[in-house]
Amino acid sequence: MSAATSPAAPRRRGARRIPLTWLGMLPFLLYMLVFLGAPLYVVVHGALTANGHFTLSNFSAILTQAQYLIPLKNSVILSLWTSLGPAILGLALAAAVVAGPRDGVLRRVVSSASGVFAYFAGAPLAFVWFASLGTLGVITVFFKTTLGYDLAKHFDISSQLGVGICYFYFQIPLMVIFMTPALEGLKPEWEEAARNLGATRRSYIRHVAAPVLAPSFIAAWLILFGSAFSAFATMLALDGCTQVVVPCKIYFEMSNNVLTNSIPFGLALGTEMIAVVGIVMIFYWWVQRRAGRWLR
């Protein structure tokens, strides 16, 4: 790498190289077409079809009937608090870690642990939850036998609180991963400059750090919201979708053992989820652009 420190000769053959770059992208675009485009078409087309004809009836059903609206409400409520909570806790953890020495043990442990735990979800996570906090889980049993306190009477892992806190398990590390680079982008010079001009630490945070970090924070929170909104396997494994969120309702409609004509409603719900995630992504993209202004 040291050779690279000599000034690089300006290479401006950009115009010639563009077609080649696109050629390199081609397999990826093809991949996207097959694994994103085609399923998207199947879902949206199916949602707009009944008995082989174009119809909006599937959408009018999912937007008017309580059995489809309540899962949407459940999803939004669950996703809101399981993204806001971890966003705040994750920011605090990331800030604590970034404040420490760059190559410190704490920092290395937290960042590699975050990398692992952020993707530890679904059935394995649910099993960990059962084994630790279930009716016969080790923690529950410990509380009962050693401390004489019956945790199971007050905390049910398949309640909304139980499932939601389970989401924290992968949401907090995800937030740490997103926020650490943003926090690292806060230059010490800015604080020194502010202090030199008479700012207190508090006013530095309020007038410099917070505004610079806000777009990154909001963007990360939006990702967390999307992650909670689309979480399915954890919910299914923990309580078998007895709390019905949208992905669960889609599963009921797509994989039904008792109703023969439910698939179009599942596809309509799928389209609804794509729309919600699409809106979240547009916001994310817009906020990210603002974040990019300072933290680059």
Binding site: M1, A4, T5, A8, T21, L23, G24, M25, L26, P27, F28, L30, Y31, V34, Q65, A66, Q67, Y68, L69, I70, P71, F130, A131, G134, T135, L136, D156, S158, S159, L236, D239, G240, C241, T242, Q243, V244, C248, K249, Y251, F252, M254, S255, N256, N257, V258, L259, T260, N261, S262, I263
Partner: protein
């Protein structure tokens, strides 16, 4: 310093992009080759020169059992779908069928659903891996009868008239009744009536297998609760009311009890489920488990599953041989050994060919059972699906 860092970073980035381009190109090429090489070969039609088994409607019409066995052996395989080993003893059925005829059985998605079985027929047309035979909820058999090839097994007359399509599109294979399975390591005793579930000893105890409106067993549980709490085969609403009371009393347990591991973790004190799926053996519990199954007193609700042969079966002779096997005395007794009630049970009892030990091991049915028609099942399921999620 930071400037130099920055440039180094950019160069590294560019190199990464180039590497990425190469890798993506390689992956793309691999995908393209895979798509070319892996396209499904057109399925062998598998019929002998003289007989087209795909349209044969009985073993007699096809030239007898020996001809069917020969044709099936020539096909060499059978594609089934969604037959878990511990479901109505399908593990044994498959093992014995393989041993008897030397035909490979490929079971796709063992944990799937009836809807997925139907989809697999529709999307698998022309593929050698499409399902040959299905075992679906009766309402699916009725709704999708146009996908099936009519066939009447040799013992057709032993199947009660109410348990089959008159033209042979589909036929019930086995069934059972809504029951309570109790983990006596957690609850002191097993309730014997629906009202008993509301007892104070069963706090946070009453669980289901799956979700009402999606899973057959859980939907049956709500339907049976309706029938035994002022409802009827045409009115499932009281079932929803019964469960909302169980929830508000704190007796309902929201765990999805669908495997032995959740039961052994003590999460499922009482499971309301079809009896043939609810016995210790069906759950795969150890013989030491304190597990008891009771069909509650009152009006037991029964349900039968249905067999059908796909019209587009890639192995039409093996499919027909499989049906002959399931409806033979051996096949029907195998269902019985899996605690399911075979559809030809009455005939087996009459002929004295029933497996007496297995017959005795079934839970008692106290009361006169009812069997809903497919239309009643669908109407009840629609109401239950809408009511449960809202």
């Amino acid at each position: 310093m930071s400037n130099i860092d920055c440039r180094a970073h950019t160069r590294f980035g560019r190199r990464t992009i180039r590497l990425y381009t190469v890798v993506m190109a390689a992956v793309g090429a691999a995908v393209a080759f895979g798509a070319l090489g892996g396209s499904p070969s057109s399925a062998a039609t598998g019929h002998s020169a003289s007989v087209n088994w795909a349209t044969v409607t009985s073993v007699k019409a096809g030239g007898g059992m020996a001809a069917l066995v020969a044709a099936a052996k020539k096909e060499g395989k059978l594609n089934t779908i969604t037959l878990p080993d511990n479901w109505a003893n399908y593990g044994t059925q498959i093992k014995e069928f393989k041993a008897k005829y030397g035909i490979t059985v490929n079971d796709a998605i063992p944990e799937g659903s009836s809807a997925q079985e139907i989809q697999a027929i529709q999307s698998g047309r022309g593929s050698s891996t499409a399902p040959d035979v299905v075992d679906v909820g009766e309402s699916f058999a009725v709704a999708d009868a146009n996908l099936f090839a009519p066939y009447k097994v040799a013992t057709w007359s032993d199947i009660p008239a109410g348990n089959k399509a008159a033209n042979g599109d589909w036929y019930n294979d086995y069934g059972g009744y809504v029951s309570f399975g109790c983990d006596l390591a957690v609850v002191p005793s097993c309730p014997t009536t629906w009202a008993g579930l509301e007892g104070s000893a069963y706090k946070n105890a009453v669980a289901l297998n799956g979700v009402p409106g999606q899973a057959g067993a859980a939907t049956g549980a709500v339907f049976a609760a309706a029938i035994n709490n002022g409802g009827s085969l045409t009115n499932a609403q009281p079932g929803l009311t019964f469960f909302s009371t169980l929830k508000s009393d704190g007796n309902f347990n929201s765990t999805d009890c669908d495997s032995s591991s959740v039961i052994e973790a003590g999460q499922c004190p009482i499971i309301i489920n079809w009896d043939f799926l609810n016995v210790a053996g069906a759950w795969g519990l150890p013989s030491t488990a304190k597990w008891k199954v009771v069909v509650p007193t009152g009006t037991p609700l029964g349900e039968f599953y249905a067999q059908a042969i796909s019209k587009t079966a890639p192995d039409p002779a093996a499919a027909r041989l499989w049906e002959e096997f399931l409806y033979s005395t051996t096949g029907q007794n195998n269902f019985l050994k899996g605690f399911a009630r075979p559809v030809e049970q009455a005939a087996l009892v009459k002929n004295g060919t029933i497996d007496k030990a297995a017959y005795k091991a079934l839970p008692l049915v106290p009361g006169k059972p009812v069997l809903p028609t497919p239309a009643q099942t669908t109407a009840a399921a629609t109401l239950i699906a809408a009511g449960w999620s809202s």
